[in-house]
Amino acid sequence: MLTILAKLLKALNSEQSPNQLAIAVSLAAILGLTPFLSLHNAVVLMFALWFRVNLSILLISYPLFAFIGYLLSPVFENVGLSILQSPSMLEMWESFFNTVIGRWSNFYYSGVMGSLAVSIIAAIILFPLTRIAVEAYREKWLVKIEQFKVTKMLKASKFWHLYSE
């Protein structure tokens, strides 16, 4: 728990831009809400590793979204089924199904499609929200939180030093 807290504070207090932190939360939402072993998650992982996305925030957020995804799986099934069965999109899905990427993406499973659709929407919403939250934290709360005993204790602990190195 302390490790997670240390990672979180370290990331928030770092010099990384709010965008880097916000994109990490958004990518974690896609990784966590959708089945992990999916083709699109390889792309998400590639994006997270190649670009300067904050990996600590991504790793902290991932389990939370995975848990939410587990709880919402019946909803994802319904959403996915209605998207896949929508007559207006049938032609598009058929074309995609007949591509190698489409075939390996498993998008034709209602759970995959539903969770991906919901997670993309969540990622789009979470990006500006997280950015605003990080900016607000740094402007208004950073100094106050630095004064908290817990923060001071944490900063003095070996966890903090471990992550500072």
Binding site: L45, L49, W93, F97, V100
Partner: protein, 558 residues
């Protein structure tokens, strides 16, 4: 600040390479354990594989030393295959399809000895006849389920009641018209007043009898006519009365007929025979049942033409879009199998075995021949025109195959073993999407059966009588449709079943009978009020008598 981090790119490719290498190393183990566990689940006994070898160039699989234990005799293998070898078409693999050009099974043996028991610790127990009997789960229905079934049922009592109502209404209208109409009342009154008038005139002066001669004659004629009408009404009344009585009797018998129909529907209406059809039948043909389930499962869940088809899979619902790669997900273009033992040899071949079968485009065939102490063959031809049109022909014969030390059934008191017998069997029939017609006949000639030693009572009698039989036979007939198959089992072992489960069935049937009777009574209402229909008719009888009596009075005085 650089946008791309170099170590991240390296880490990504390293992770991909690690995953691929890991999969390549782990895959044989994963496939092995997957095949073993799913095979064991289906068979009900251990399925074991020595090794699996995967090769990348060319993409191929080799399964070495496959053993499938016999669920009935765990120290024996049902089948043992030395090697299964096949190459996968990589182009098809790119489209997530398994296409096998030639599948070779060599060293196929049946009935080989095992060094360890093939029994599953917690798996399906050997499906033996007497165990089936004791483990049959008779239907336990809740109050609400019973009421729902009765509510849904097309009860004959309700039909008969409405027919009775309709008849009663018709009769009411008829009798009202005949006896209650003003015209009829007036006619009687006219006759009565004419009679009084003429009588008074005759009393005043006897000569008036002569004067009123014509009037008396007319009155006599009118009275006679009315009497005739009343007489014919009396006849009609008797007919109506009988009709109502018959209909009431039919309504009263209705709940019993309904009870039988509903009980038949759950397989308890006809005692052991009904139960055998419903519950014992499928157990005789577990593989057939599995095939039916598989084929039923193949049917899509969505029938709308402007929506893609949806299938239930282990990974959730799968929407099947139109596939331009017109070959099935799994296809074995050609299969060869061979094997032999000291006492027999086996050869078989097949072609175009695929899933989904309607995407294969050609009929699937499988032919197997065995030679040994007798002859056996199996032949399958399955032609799928499309998803909804399938025609499968099955035929198999076993001719004079010697059966030795075959475990017939396992009971609490021990094993029933066929020490020796000659087996003749035939399986023949067709399966299509809307019709099932399969017949299986198994005959054991000159059976020498070893029964457990501590038998008593009827079991002892049965054991000795079994050995006196020249033949033991079981005939299974499967008809109906894939959704609603009907099994008919006729066996010379029927008496054993009857004795074993007769009492159990009787108790359960009685228990459910009461509940169903109650639900039917609630639906059809109180039949005690049926007598009102007779009473309704009786009032017209009274009126008829009254009119008749009145006319009789006129006649006497006249």
């Amino acid at each position: 600040m650089k946008v791309i981090r170099l170590w991240g790119v390296i880490a990504f490719f390293f992770l991909i390479a690690l995953f691929a290498a890991g999969w390549y190393l782990v895959a044989p183990g994963v496939v092995k354990s997957g095949l073993e566990s799913s095979g064991s689940e289906v068979l009900g006994a251990k399925v074991e594989i020595d090794t699996i070898e995967l090769s990348l160039f060319p993409t191929g699989v080799q399964i070495n030393g496959l053993q499938a234990a016999d669920p009935d005799q765990p120290m024996q293998n049902l089948v043992e295959i030395e090697q299964i070898r096949f190459a996968l078409d990589t182009d098809a693999l790119l489209w997530k399809k398994l296409q096998i050009d030639e599948l070779n099974l060599t060293g196929v043996q049946v009935g080989t000895k095992r060094t360890t028991s093939g029994e599953l610790a917690k798996g399906r127990a050997a499906e033996q006849l007497s165990q089936q009997v004791s483990s049959i789960e008779l239907p336990e229905l809740t109050e609400s389920e019973i009421r729902a079934m009765v509510a849904k049922a097309d009860l004959i009592t309700v039909k008969r009641l409405s027919e009775l109502d309709a008849s009663q209404e018709l009769m009411e209208a008829y009798w009202k018209k005949e006896l209650d109409a003003e015209e009829n009342k007036k006619q009687i009154k006219v006759l009565e007043s004419d009679f009084k008038r003429l009588t008074n005139r005759a009393k005043e002066n006897k000569m008036n009898l002569l004067t009123d001669r014509k009037a008396w004659k007319k009155l006599k004629k009118d009275i006679k006519k009315e009497k005739k009408r009343i007489s014919s009404l009396n006849e009609q009344f008797k007919i109506d009365q009988q009709t109502i009585k018959t209909q009431i009797a039919a309504v009263k018998a209705g709940p019993k007929a309904d009870l039988k129909a509903v009980m038949d529907n759950i397989g308890l209406g006809n005692g052991v025979a009904g139960l055998s059809d419903k519950f014992l039948g499928p157990e005789f043909t577990p593989w057939l049942r599995k095939a039916i389930d598989l084929m039923s499962g193949m049917k899509s869940e969505s029938g709308s033409s402007d929506q893609a088809l949806v299938y239930s899979t282990e990974q959730g619902l799968k929407v099947q879009f139109k596939d331009n790669q017109l070959f099935p997900d799994v296809l074995i273009k050609k299969i060869n199998l061979s094997g032999k033992d000291e006492k027999w040899s086996l050869n078989g071949s097949g072609a175009n075995l695929g899933y989904f079968p309607w995407l294969v485009g050609r009929p699937a065939t499988l032919d197997i021949e065995m030679n040994g102490s007798g002859k056996a063959d199996f032949s399958l031809l399955s032609d799928w025109k499309d998803e909804n049109e399938m025609q499968t022909k099955l035929s198999s014969t076993v001719d004079g195959w010697a059966v030795e030390n075959f475990n017939l059934m396992e009971t609490d008191l021990g094993s029933w073993v066929i020490k020796s017998a000659r087996l003749n069997s035939s399986l023949d029939g067709e399966i299509s999407m809307d019709k099932l017609d399969l017949s299986l006949s198994v005959i054991l000639n000159q059976p020498n059966i070893k029964a457990p030693e501590n038998l008593t009572g009827w079991q002892k009698t049965m054991a000795s009588s079994l050995n006196q039989q020249k033949q033991l036979s079981i005939d299974v007939k499967l008809t109906g449709t894939l959704e609603q198959p009907t099994f008919k089992v006729n066996s010379s072992l029927d008496s054993m079943f009857t004795q074993a489960i007769g009492e159990k069935v009787k108790q359960q049937a009685e228990k459910l009978k009461g509940k169903f009777s109650e639900a039917i009574s609630d639906k059809v209402g109180d039949l005690g009020e049926l007598e009102q229909y007779t009473k309704g008719l009786e009032q017209w009888s009274e009126k008829l008598k009254l009119n008749d009596g009145l006319l009789d009075g006129l006649k006497i005085k006249f």
